[in-house]
Amino acid sequence: MDLVDLKIIGLLIQDPQMPFSRMAKALDIGIETVIRRYNKLKNEGIIYNTTITVDMKKCGYTGHALFLVNTLADAEPEKMYSELVKKRNVLTVIHAIGDYDLLIHCIYSDLDDLYRLQREISKVPGIKYMSVVVVSAKDFNTSFPSSEYYSHMISKMAASGQIKT
């Protein structure tokens, strides 16, 4: 990664949908160079992709919940992971070390829906126990992915001089 790459990332952070032509103009380099570098950053796994954020409330959801899962000693974490990430309204699954082994972040429309989700998740083989915490709506940004989370990250990166914006 060199300065030009960092500048490309900086532009993508500001506007993930900025056309390549505008990026080329802003950086005063050729459009082919921008596209080549963009693809390279993707292939090297430095950036993944871009995504739109949607308003959860408008999509009919009222809250977020976290399932804290303890797995059985003979569970197959990778298999559980790939099964869980396919489930409807499961937004993030993360392996954890500590009091629990998996953290599952979901959204639900009402308590019946949350209950259904819990039943569905608990069918995945390998779960020993799971507890749930429901996130109070006032503390969560209703857009997903959370722009709050990403802007926090970006301000930390900018503070440590890792990105140029």
Binding site: D15, V54, I94, D99, S131, K156
Partner: protein
Amino acid sequence: MNPRVLTLKITETDLKIIKALQLDARASYTDIAKELGVSKNIVSTRVRLLKEKGIINGSILLFNLSKFGFGCLASLSIKAIPSKVDDVIKYIRSLKGPAISASTMGSYNLTVILLMQDTEELKRVIDSIKKDPAIIQINTCILTDIEKALPRSQNIDLSRLLEAK
């Protein structure tokens, strides 16, 4: 805003457009149109409508945290004196370290997601959180494989949008 726009119904095509942009916010309207078998004009009109309705409310770049010096993601599940939860949140937010802090219902009444450079920084932040006398207990979990913990917005069931007027 054009008031007529708000009364327009969301269609199956809209949901497919949202999904396509969730997978890649930079996807060209031409490609999306081809895939859905509609004209490019329809795609751009519908995207504009979805934005005006506030269903699509932004876009973000997803990047590899570890390549930018974030080696440590942790989740703190906190038990705090119930009447003091709001103050504890205010205090934790003032520390600037945490990416997300939210009050929760269930086994814990606070959840904090910390995005840190390393475990030393994590320890420092946890130590300062601990200073709040309203906190009864903190359970720390280190989240691993964070490269795989991408937000899966494409899992959001959007069908409720169809029911909305």
